[in-house]
Symmetry: none
Subunit: 143 residues, 2 copies
DNA sequence: GCATTCTGCTAACTAGAGCAAGCACAATGG
DNA sequence: CCATTGTGCTTGCTCTAGTTAGCAGAATGC
């Protein structure tokens, strides 16, 4: 199924885009016009030769009438869990994801909370409550 | 001829980043090391001179221990509605629904939280976008 | 037959993200 | 007093995202 033998760049996104475009009965030029990107570039994106920025993905999503988030997930810049998952309200998580608190305030607040309910006992080492898993599939190439 | 060489590239993101970094008591170099980006670049991002990609934002989020989504919103590549709409990761709500805290503890915790972010003066935000963003994707694009 | 107009793709180029090296200044402390 | 180490910032460079111009082939019609 992997039609890309050694295409190092993420291909799932390109495949998905081409799929969406074709099922929408749009040509490369049509979509490129709709999305406001050049058609050769779109072609290269679909074949996995270039990695589009979030801005471009946004425009493509608009042209394709799909949610930008779904493209972000495919592009690996958004974790699928953060989109689909619907966690019960968890104080720790809510604190971690809060947009107004500073990092220090978060630490303080979490401290207070855990002074009440205790720290997660099952974890001997201080388990980092990272906001997103981050380490899942982020193939950064160090060069 | 308005000399506007260094156009302010929407420095709200930069301001936010610097704010977060400083309240986390991190120097430019410390955070840049943590996030795996160069320190001059981070400096330029914070001053709004450069516009970081989503990948960089992801790494910065990890280093700052904030959610990547919040940075995306600040950077303008994610709509705030799409974030606030989902799990409703609201600290107040999470505290209220917590099963372990006593009522008194809840009041205390909420007090601390509001000492940080302030009490909700008016309506926080009730605006709901009307467009279909129901699930993750709704590609009804059959012609 | 040959023009036209689609389709997607290649080539060459420009702009800007992101980097390493190094600068100026403040605070330590020997 | 000067050496060291910390802070943020400037310079100059590389690499790639994203562009415009143009190419080869499949369908139309004349």
């Amino acid at each position: 199924m992997s039609k890309n033998p050694l295409n190092d760049l993420g291909s799932s996104l390109g495949d998905y885009l081409r799929e969406q475009r074709q099922s929408a009965k749009l040509s490369l030029r049509q979509l490129s016009e709709l999305a406001g990107v050049s058609n050769p570039y779109l072609s290269q994106i679909e074949r996995g030769l270039k990695r589009p920025s979030a801005e471009i993905l946004q425009q493509l999503a608009k042209g394709l009438e799909v949610s930008a988030e779904s493209l972000y997930v495919k592009a690996g810049i958004l974790d699928e869990d953060t989109v689909t998952e619907r966690p019960r309200s968890d104080v720790r998580r809510a604190i971690a994801e809060d947009g107004q608190l500073t990092a220090r305030q978060k630490a303080t607040l979490l401290d207070v909370y855990e002074s009440f309910v205790g720290t997660p006992a099952a974890t001997p080492k201080t388990r980092r409550s990272t906001t997103s898993k981050a380490g899942t599939k982020t193939p950064q190439k160090e060069k």
